[in-house]
Every structure is written in C-alpha cells, then in structure tokens.
Amino acid sequence: MREALLQVENLSKHYVVKKNLISPKILIKAVDNISFDIDHGETLGLIGESGSGKTTTGELILRLIHADTGRVFFQGENVLQMDEKNMRRKRKDIQIIFQQAQETLDPKVTIGEIIAAPLRIYSIVPATEIEAEVDRLLNMVGLTGKDKNKYTYQLSGGQKQRIGIARAIASRPKLVICDEPVSALDVSVQGQILNLLIDLKKELSLTYLFISHDLKVVQHICDRIAVMFKGRIVEMGDKEQIMLNPRNDYTKQLIEAML
C-alpha cells in the first residue's frame, strides 16, 4: 500500500436536530462515511453544492469539530485519536484557509501580530527574526511590510484573504486545506488569489485539499476531484476523467450547469 500524505477512512459526522418540542428527532448526516486520500504534492478538489458537507469534512480533518466515527491518517498517524498536546503540534503541518477571511481573522489584532502568531507558537524562526519573517511572508502573498500595523477592517476583501493565506503558510505546513478561498471575492480578484495559491504550491511544495462549489475554479487548480453530494462522495477521479467522462448523475448535472 502506498503511503499517502492524508488518508481519510470512513469519516462520519451526524447531527441530531429537533425543530421544536413535539417534533421527532431528525438525523442529519453532514458527512457520511467518506474515504479518500491525498498524495504528496497533489491537489484534491472537493466539490459539491452548499450543504453537501465539504466544509465539515475540512474542519473534521483539522478537528475543529469532533468526528463521530472514522479515521484520519496524516503521515501515518491518526489525528482523530491524538491528545490535545500532540494535536497542537500537528497543526503546524495542517493549515486551513477559510472562506470568510474577515470573520476568521481577529479584528482586534494587527496584521503583523496575526501572521507572527504561528511563528511564535512553533518557534519557526528565532524571536529576533520574527519581524523580518513577517515581512517576507507579506511580500510572498503580495502585500508589503507597511501593512503590518493595520487592522483587518482597514483592508479590502482580497487583501484579507492574502493575510489568511500568509497566516496559513507561516508555519510551513505540508497540507493546506483551502475552504472555498475565493468564493467570497470578485471574479477579478479570484484569479489573482488562485494564481497566488498555485505559485505558493510550487514554491513551498504544498499539498492542497481544495474545497469549492465552483467547478471552474477546481478545474483550474486541481489534479484530482471528489464530488460530494448529501454528505457522501459520489464520484472521485482524475480531473480529465471527471470533466470529460462523468459517471454519476449528479456530477453530470454539475458539469452541465457549469457549461
């Protein structure tokens, strides 16, 4: 068996919902028994409509929410069974870029501090070089060191997303989960951010799990694609195979809608 960077096996997350006092309980299967794996340097696109469980999958892998069942192997270790301390250490290697940058960045902390935080936590660079490293990262994502003392509300949407990216790559991760990184942006900015992600991938030899509802974007960036529908992966394969020769009905609908 080949050693993948990330292996997800039978991952599930169910929610019990009770609408009011007398209604019966409803079981919602947000993520239902999904399995996939990602190799080193590969980009897996996770695509599906809203509410299909893409984002939940990403957060389950990062343990931002707790999984019900399943296993997630990262470099051969099950992250779902790690204790808090080890998990915190592991987070250095798995990072996430959120969809809503302005909401996931603390509005009361300066940009310099946001980016410096992972550097401090993992002692990526010595304390004296943190400033320089922050400047370098900002340059990398197309900003300048001058922006360091600004707060997030002083930036545009695209700039905020760049900050989110800079923070994610600051700890020099191996795997980055991109959770719809461009869907909240203008089309013109979308392209810039996607190109930035592609450049960074080459430069830092990253692996992406790219979550999106937009097939065009996924097609642009991914090597393989997994299609999710109602918590399940209905189809998974190479980009060409999925785009040109879809087997599942839902996939077909998606591709048709794109065209």
Partner: protein, 767 residues
C-alpha cells in the same frame, strides 16, 4: 468636527480633582482632620456653667461645620477621600481578581467555575449584599480594628458579597466571544486555550472591562454609602461614648477620616446639625457621578473603531506586545499623545496617592529605641555625678539623631545650679538592746539618711512617737539621745519645722522619722548637715524601733559632696501650623535613677526616646510644637530639674499649652495613676487633650480587658513637685504615674500600651 464627548470630559475632570485631593489634601485645607474640639467656649450665666459643645455649625473657622467630636467636616471630607476611594478601588480590584479568572474559565466551559459563579449569584440575590455586609461588619471584632486591618476586612467582605454579578457578566461575554468564527482560525493555527484567552478573548473584553471597572467603582461607593447609613464603615471607632457600669459603648463615628461614617450619624443629627450629613452626602454624590460619567463616556468613545484610547489600552493590556504599542504610539497624532500622557500620569499619581500611607502608631515598642540610644550602662544616675553628665550627653546625642531641634543655641543640655548635694557613701545602723541582742537595719530598705556629713555616733533610743512635740520649748532632755518621731501625727510643714527645730536647738544625736503610710522612702540625697543625723524609717522599721526603746543605737555615716549642677536635656519638634504652631506640648521624663531602679530607669529613657521618634516618623502636618524634656534630679525633690524650669522656663510659658508628666513611671507593667486636676476646663486645649487621652487609655482598657487604671486624681506618690509647672508658670499639667501592682500580675497596662495611647492622642488632638 466631531461632537464632544461631554460625559467623558466632565467625568475625567471629577476624577482629576479626586486624584489631586488624594495626593495633596493639605493644599486644600489648613485644618488637621484628626483634631477634635470637645469644647469651644464657656461662660457663666445665672450661676451656671454653660459650655458650647460640638457639633458646631459652619463658621469662618470651620467652613462646613464640625461633627459631633468637633472635627472639621471639610478637612474630614478632604482627607477622607483617600481612604474612601482606596477601599472602593481595592474592592473593585478584588472583585475583578475573583471574577475575571472564574468568569473566563466558566466561559471556556469549566463546570466548577460556572457553578461557583451561579451559586454565589443565587445566594447574594436571595440575601441582599447590604444585609450580609452589615451583619458581618457590625460585629464587635471588626469595629475595633486598626486602620490597615480594617481596610483588609472591609475589602474582603465587600468583595465577596457582590462579585458574582461581575463574574456572570464576564462569563457571558467570554462565551459570546468564543462563539465568533475567528476563534476557529486561532485554534487552527495551534494556539492553546491560555494563548487564546490572553491574546484574543481578553483584548476583546478590554473595552468592556474598563467601562465595567469605572461603573463598578461607582457601585461600590454607593454600597459604602448605604453601609455608612447603617453605621458600618472603615476606620475603627475611637471615641468612647460611655463607660457606665463597666460596659463601654463607642460613639458611632470613625476615628479615621472617611466619608461613609459621617452619614452614620444621619439618624441622630439630620435635624439638629444637617451639615454633618449633607456635605459628605454631596461628596459621595459627586464622585459616584464622576465614575459613572467616565464609564458612560468611555462606552461612547470605544464605539468608534479608531479610538486612540482603545488602541492604547489594548496595547497596554496585551501581554508581551508593549514594544508594538510603543511603535504604534509614535503614529498617533500629537494631540492624542498628550491625552495619553495625561491619563498615564493621572494613573501614576492615583497609584502613588493610594500607596503612600503615613506611618501609623499601631506599632509601638520602646525597645526599638535601642538602636538610636547608645549609652554606657550605669548602675545609677544621680544628679551631680559623672554618670549623670554622660547620660545627659547621650540623651542629647540621641535626640539629635532622632531629629529633634535643640531649645537654644547652647544645645540640648541646659544646666542649672542647685544647692549643695551630699550622698552617703557608707551608712550603717545597729541597735544593741538591753539584753545585748544586736538588731541591724538596712539603709534604703528600712531607713534612709536625710542629713549628711561624716559621723560615728551612738546613744540611747528615746521613743517619742506618741508625743506631740510642736508646743514643746525645751528639748534639753533629748541630749545625746536618738529620738523616734512619727510624722503621721503632724502636718507636713509642721513636721519639717519640728525636725529642724530639734536639730538646731538641742544637742540630740539623731532623729528617726517614721514615714507616712503611703509614702516611699526618699532617696538619700540632700544638703542638710547637722551635729546629729536625721533619718526616715519605714513604718515597719518604726515598729521595731519602738520595741527597742532605751537600747543603744550605733550609727556610721560617711558622705561625699557632689557637683551642684543639674542638666535638663530638652529637644523640640517645632510646630508647623499657621495658627497654633507656636503653642507647645511639653512631655517630661526623668532620666535619673538609683541602684534600685536601674532596670526601669533605662527603660524610661528608651520609652521617651521612642515616643519622640514615633512622633517624628508620623510626620504630621499642621501641629503644635512638641517638646521633650528629660529632667535631671528627679530622684530627689530638692534638686529636681522641674524647679529650675519653673524659675527659668525653656519655652515661653504663655505658649505652653500642656505639660505631661511622666517622671513617676516606676514599672513597665503596672497600675496607672492618672491625675488631670491640673488641666482645668478653662484651658481648652489641655482639657480636650485630657479628655481624649482618658478615652485612648480607656479604649485599651476595653479592647485588651481589665488594665488597672486609676482615673481619680491625687494618686499615690505624687507631690507638689509634679505639679510645679502648673503652680510656677501656669502650664496645665497631666500626671501619669505607673506603679507596680503586686497583687495583679497578668492584666496590667504596659508601657507600650501607654505609649500608643499617648501617640494616638497627640496625633488626634494636636492642632
């Protein structure tokens, strides 16, 4: 142009005024807040003595009137700002110290913390905090504490009683903040809980916490005001209302300047003397308003995203980011910079003002003076001897070290000439009875020589103790005999006259004088030289002698003459009050002691020095002059330094308001005799002082239980000499005498306790 934030401006102004008051109370009033005036004027009308008693209404002297102890209300409010605000700020800090960790922990989901907060909240909602506070703090134990202890107790109770509300508020805000999406991001980059709390949650609460802090101060002040109305306040109750039937009740007013206590008398005085209640009420009103306005103003200010205050605050409160803050500050506008500088310096002043307390007299140990009093150990220090000269020098040096000023250019020591001084060097008395039995008497325990010279005499003992000899003209039958006389059947003057007459007119060998029952043997020192000898004998020895009538008395006496110069050592702490700074309180202590008093003699000096040192340390503003005099020659009435002072006072007698005589301290633990007959009601200050000293001693009496204090005048062992300042230079005199009480060993007044009482009174009534 942005709309001005009026509430913040007004609130800040009030705060600045309060901080100024805390730091520089003496700039705002000339009056010492501790000064109590128990009486202002008196007059006779229709044959009745009428006293004008406090509370005095507002007048030129007391702009806002005085309270029922005659203390100036304006000064009391001004000096009370510090204690009142300190308490409220400490309470708020205490509440935050409790509420913040527990609130944050509960917000993070700690079950225990949540339970603690909720249970406390439930308990103190069901039982009003006011009620619990009043019940706890009204206990006797709390009302008699010293200032520092009282502050701690008060802060603890006020903190515990009402912190849960704050805790709950913080908990809810933390939960709210933790629900925000960016927390996910912080977890994702691997921050621990602690890091998230410190770096993300607390900065989000900063604004709210600062607002809460000011609002909470206002709330605590309100609560203290309510406590005050129920008669619960900081600052021990120092004034005794009544000691009827052994039960002591205190006046319900604070000894320390403080606002809440002034409201306590509302019930009794609101109609009679409304000024005692209204002005402290206004003080409370203004400061509560001030803190509320600041809270409100800050809330408005923080709503703006670019608020410079918020940036600064966050910078100051986020840990390890101070460097960043400094850098940020350089980018803010100059005007804003000035604001920051002003608020930082205000905060600094507030901290300084609250931190600096005058040394308080709660600790008094006369042994502490050992470090400043360097002296040779003498077995006895008697006027005219070399020891006395050295001792005077030593005491003078110590006074200088303590920081007292000399009374004249000549220095601390003022010399005076006395009559010739003789002391016996050898003294023996032996009686050989008719049955040839030898009975020995011990000098200074059984008898004492009162006339001197070098003599070896013997003769027959003649008992005249039951005869009245004043009318006798011819004493020839006493020739070559020793006569036994009983002074109890004569008047004092008459007896002196009689002894002199017998000694000069007859050829008697000697006179034994039986001492009056209450008197102690005087010290063998004097200037009389006769052909025969004069001796005092104790009543017991007198009885023995009576049995031996007709026996042969053998006497050996050798004496030497001392230098007839006495040295009083005096130093003063000059007064610094504009009005009464020149008026002086004189404290007199004897430094002579003989062999029998060696131990207490040294202690007495130490005690006096420590008293002086503590007074200097208290560093009181606005007080009278205090003079410490160490008298020479106190072992003998004839050479007593007080006589010299009476003839040639060191300080203007017209400005001498009081003399406290402490020469008759014969033990460091004993029975206190207290005579204030020479501090009459016509001398306001001394009368008032006496009243408070009595109070201070009686208070110790109550708190520590059952000292023996004799408040009745005319105590044991005192005589004309003690009151000489009153009779010669008309200085009112209070005499304190401590004597051994052999029947009672454990519950006795100690020197330290007496020292504390004196210090307290000097502090209290020295304006």
């Amino acid at each position: 142009m942005k709309k001005k934030n009026l509430s913040l401006i007004i609130g800040s102004c009030i705060l600045v005024v309060l901080i100024f008051t805390i730091n520089f109370p003496s700039l705002l009033t000339d009056i010492n807040p501790y000064t109590a005036q128990t009486m202002r004027t008196w007059n006779y009308e229709n044959g009745e003595l009428n006293l004008q008693a406090p509370p005095f209404p507002p007048s030129e002297e007391n702009p806002l009137g005085t309270d029922e102890m005659g203390r100036d209300i304006l000064a009391f409010i001004i000096y009370g700002t510090k204690l009142t605000l300190t308490i409220s700020i400490f309470v708020v800090i205490g509440r935050f110290l409790l509420a913040l960790p527990l609130g944050v922990a509960a917000g993070f989901g700690s079950y225990t913390s949540k339970m603690i907060i909720e249970q406390c909240s439930i308990i103190f909602t069901a039982l009003p905090a006011l009620l619990i506070g009043v019940i706890i703090l009204k206990m006797n134990f709390f009302t008699n504490l010293y200032r520092e202890q009282s502050i701690v107790a008060f802060v603890l109770v006020l903190t515990i009683v009402d912190w849960a509300k704050l805790g709950k508020m913080i908990m809810e805000r933390v939960q709210e903040t933790l629900g925000k999406p960016f927390i996910k991001g912080e977890i994702a980059i691997g921050k621990s809980r602690l890091q998230i709390t410190l770096e993300n949650v607390i900065p989000h609460l900063t604004a709210e916490l600062v607002i809460l802090f000011f609002m909470e101060i206002a709330r605590v002040l309100t609560m203290m005001m309510q406590f005050g109305i129920f008669g619960v306040f900081v600052g021990n109750m120092g004034f005794i209302a009544d000691t009827e039937g052994g039960q002591t009740t205190f006046l319900n007013i604070s000894y320390e300047p403080e606002w809440a206590s002034m409201l306590g008398s509302a019930r009794n005085y609101i109609r009679l003397a409304p000024w005692t209640v209204i002005f402290p009420g206004i003080a409370f009103f203004i400061s509560i308003l001030g803190f509320n306005l600041i809270g409100e103003g800050l809330r408005k200010e923080f709503q703006e995203k670019n608020s410079v205050y918020l940036t600064g605050l966050r910078g100051m409160l986020s840990f390890g980011k101070l460097k960043l803050f400094v850098r940020q500050k350089s980018t803010v506008a100059r005007k804003q910079k000035i604001y920051i500088v002003i608020s930082v310096s205000c905060a600094f002043l507030a901290v300084m003002g609250i931190g600096a307390w005058n040394q308080y007299s709660a600790v008094f140990q006369y042994t502490d003076a050992k470090e400043i009093f360097v002296h040779e150990a003498f077995d006895e220090v008697l006027i005219g001897t070399e020891q006395s000269k050295k001792m005077a020098q030593n005491i003078g040096d110590s006074l200088m070290k303590i920081g007292l000023k000399p009374m004249s250019e000549k220095g601390y020591i003022s010399e005076y000439t006395t009559e010739k001084i003789y002391v016996p060097t050898e003294a023996r008395l032996k009686v050989v009875s008719t049955a040839m039995e030898i009975e020995e008497f011990v000098h200074q325990t059984d008898f004492v020589f009162q006339s001197f010279g070098n003599k070896e005499l013997n003769g027959e003992l003649y008992d005249a103790s039951e005869m009245e000899l004043l009318s006798t003209i011819d004493f020839t039958n006493m020739k070559d005999q020793f006569v036994l006389l009983d002074s109890n059947i004569y008047s004092e003057k008459g007896f002196q006259y009689l002894v002199k007459k017998i000694m000069t007119e007859s050829e008697v060998k000697g006179i034994f004088c039986i001492l009056p029952a209450k008197k102690a043997l005087p010290y063998p020192m004097g200037n009389e030289v006769y052909n025969g000898v004069v001796m005092w004998v104790t009543p017991e020895a007198g009885n023995r002698l009576k049995q031996l009538s007709g026996s042969d008395v053998q006497i050996v006496l050798k004496s030497r003459e001392l230098e007839n110069i006495g040295r009083n050592v005096a130093g003063m702490i000059p007064g610094n009050d504009k009005m009464v700074g020149e008026e002086a309180i004189i404290i007199g202590i004897g430094y002579n002691y003989d062999r029998n008093q060696k131990e207490i003699g040294e202690k007495r000096i130490l005690w006096g020095l420590e008293l002086a040192r503590k007074l200097i340390q208290m560093d009181q503003e606005k007080r009278r002059t205090i003079i410490f005099v160490f008298w020479d020659g106190t072992v003998s009435d004839s050479y007593n330094g007080k006589t010299a002072y009476g003839k040639q006072p060191l300080y203007n007698p017209e400005k001498s308001e009081l003399y406290v005589d402490l020469t008759r301290i014969y033990t460091d633990k004993g029975h206190l005799y207290y005579n204030s007959r020479q501090a009459p009601i016509t001398r306001y200050f001394s009368f008032s002082f006496n009243h408070q000293l009595e109070n201070a001693i009686a208070k110790r009496n109550v708190v520590q239980n059952e000292y023996k204090v004799d408040m009745y005048p005319g105590a044991k062992g005192e005589n004309y000499m003690d009151k000489i300042l009153y009779y010669e230079v008309n200085t009112p005199t209070i005499i304190l005498s401590m004597q051994e009480d052999k029947g009672n060993t454990n519950k006795l007044l100690t020197l330290d306790e007496l020292g504390k009482s004196l210090l307290e009174t000097l502090k209290n009534n020295n304006h």
